[in-house]
């Protein structure tokens, strides 16, 4: 039982990371039905900027918590700026283009961001300085660290904050109006371009926070780290019902837990014919099964023909 509890904790932590990245995907998708495949690169840039700042600030001998907060505070505007530039230059001109055109620009933007990061931060795996002392707590035979708790709390706070913004503010109302029908929203006096830009920038800010989280939890950053994480988070967003904020959270957590339980139990359940190597297969099979029975994800609304 303690093993099971531990696997749940592992899964929830990993799921929280997926969830925060998935929020970014889902927001952008919700408003303009675009999968921003370069979103993972924003996470990477966030981690890299934080890495540089932490490297600069640690010798100054500040409180570790202050350093991490400062690093995050710097990563956010950098990512926001890139997110804005991305939308303005690569996506906005294509808003009326065939659906797959922005997909290709997104791939292009991904390649560009990765290799710019390579130039700035080298090809090496960058080891995040281990500044926050890891403290472990024991609950019912399982271990949970302060960093894990922080990640889970952060992701919930961010989702809640985002939900508040979208459902309780004027800005959020305008965003939702744009999402529902951009043309009509425009007629109502909403600056659609601004709304879409705001969405991108908000998504980018989330990506920056996710980057700092991933970097400091796993202690490593690499210029290609965004690709895999982005793919998993995209899967999480779809699982939960893309375009739906609580769905992204639910999808992320579900994917994380499924992966952890998959790695933990497939081997024993199949007499070791399959093992942890099939962890991703297991995760994708769960995704496919869910989509076969609920073609718009766990919390998604029925969408029309968009292909």
């Amino acid at each position: 039982m303690d093993i099971f509890l531990q696997q749940l904790i592992n899964g929830l932590t990993l799921g929280s990371v997926y969830a925060v990245v998935a929020l970014g995907y889902t927001m952008v998708y919700g408003i303009i039905q675009l999968i921003n495949f370069a979103h993972g690169e924003l996470v990477m840039i966030g981690a890299m900027v934080a890495f540089t700042l932490i490297g600069v600030l640690v010798p100054a001998g500040m409180n570790p918590l202050v350093i991490v907060l400062l690093a995050t505070a710097c990563a956010i505007p950098v990512c926001m700026l890139i997110g804005y530039a991305m939308e303005r230059l690569a996506y906005r001109p294509l808003r009326r283009a065939p659906r797959l055109a922005p997909l290709i620009t997104a791939i292009g933007v991904s390649i560009i961001l990765q290799h710019l990061a390579l130039l700035v931060w080298s090809r090496n795996n960058l080891a995040f300085p281990q500044i926050i002392k890891t403290v472990s707590y024991h609950i019912g035979g399982a271990t949970i660290t302060n960093v894990q708790i922080a990640i889970m709390v952060m992701s919930v706070v961010m989702m809640a904050g985002l939900a508040l913004l979208v459902y309780r503010t004027r800005l959020g109302t305008a965003m939702r109006a744009t999402a529902q029908n951009a043309q009509v929203a425009g007629l109502m006096g909403i600056d659609i371009n601004r709304m879409i830009a705001v969405t991108f920038v908000l998504g980018a800010a989330l990506a920056a926070v996710a980057g700092v989280m991933v970097g400091s939890y796993y202690g490593i950053a690499h210029y290609q780290m965004g690709a895999l994480l982005g793919m998993k988070a995209f899967a999480a967003a779809v699982l939960g019902g893309i375009g739906n904020l609580p769905g992204a959270m639910l999808g992320g957590l579900t994917l994380g837990v499924v992966e952890a339980l998959g790695a933990g139990y497939i081997g024993d359940l199949t007499g070791n014919v399959f093992g942890s190597n099939y962890q991703d297969v297991f995760a994708f099979l769960v995704l496919i099964t869910v989509l076969v029975f609920r073609p718009s994800g766990l919390l998604g609304e029925r969408v029309g023909d968009r292909a």
Binding site: L118, N125, Q224, N272, G275, S276
Partner: protein
Amino acid sequence: MKTMNFAPKIALALLAAAAAFTMSGCGEEKKPEPVKKAEAPPPPSIEIKIGHVGPMTGGIAHLGKDNENGARLAVEEANAAKIKIDGKDAKFVFVGEDDQADPKVGTTVAQKLVDAKVAGVVGHLNSGTSIPASAIYNQANIPVISGAATNPKLTEQGFKNQFRVVGRDDQQGPAIASYMAGDAKPKTVAIIDDATAYGEGLANEVEKTLAAAKIKVLPREKGTDKTTDWKAILTKLKGKKPDAVFYGGMDASGGPLVKQARELGIKVVFAFGDGACTDEMAKLAGDAAEGLLCSQAGLPVAAADKKFLDNYKKKFNADPILYAPFTYDAANLLIEAMKKANSPDPAKYLPELTKIDYKGATGQIAFDDKGDRKDAEMTIFTMKAGKITPVAVIKGGKTTPIADFIAAMSPAAPAAAPAPAAPAPAAEAAKAPEAAKEAPKAEAAKK
């Protein structure tokens, strides 16, 4: 109207494409010229191209660049040494290529090097790119020395021009496995790999050795080379209570692995292959890395060749990451064989390379009939205060603690040829065995 507008754009695009093509054509045609010049009778200098291939972009680009640096350093040192070959001043030209760790790009760039008439090739990094490329070099009969590809199959295709200076999986695996078995005396061992040709290949050899020693091995666990979250697998292992864990994979995934294991309270010894035998492990895992075991082919570089380390650092403003000493040796081996044969013609110097006996940065190097390193030493390291530190040398299945190894060999030290300055006493001593071996051979060579 609309379509009319596009016409000039298309024309422009075509023009650009045409320009690109002609440019590429020019670049190509220019290349063979120097070689032709070299063939002409009496020019005072001779240009010799040495190729290097490794991934310069992609997930393990940092290792590819490290490899390239090693080979580049050797080539530049050779140029500085003003070597004469066939009575002419040899001018070595370094030709670096990026195979993106992608097998299909690997064959393309291999062909590109063959087209450019390189005299020899150092590389590739991955077994996955080395194996398909080897067939192309073999057809052109160009000697290739890999400094990093460990898959046994590479040298078992019967290619006479294929060599490697790094330990094969089936040389390194038994070494680290038997040391781990002797050191930790485990009853049960868990083996994890990263599901790559390297990680899995090495893990399989470790498993074979452990099974032969009647040690129980748990069902294999696998992540990927990009895995950073190992907690699920580690939690499962924790329930099975192994006495030791071996991981076949690189430091980028191995660091987080050992860090998370300690966080989960798994206290047993962790062992790794050369891919994770770097100081990087301590940076990635912090204190959790202390006490880990790992192996490298050859002798510890820090001990074998301090000069290489210093020069590398001076030139590239960084420490070598992993295989740079091996690619450095590989490039030097090519140059050395050319010197011995007094010719950069692969047909002439290949026989010299086959029977070479050379003291490199990673120890004494000679090749067996497959092209693998003959009777290679394996060094076992442990992590001590954030640095990997040699603890034992394994040769021919015999384990010698590093202190004994040094002590046994030091009396022979005075016979050494003038060796580069090496401040650490251990370094000095460890160099002694080579020097001792080298001495008689050097004399023989003089004749």
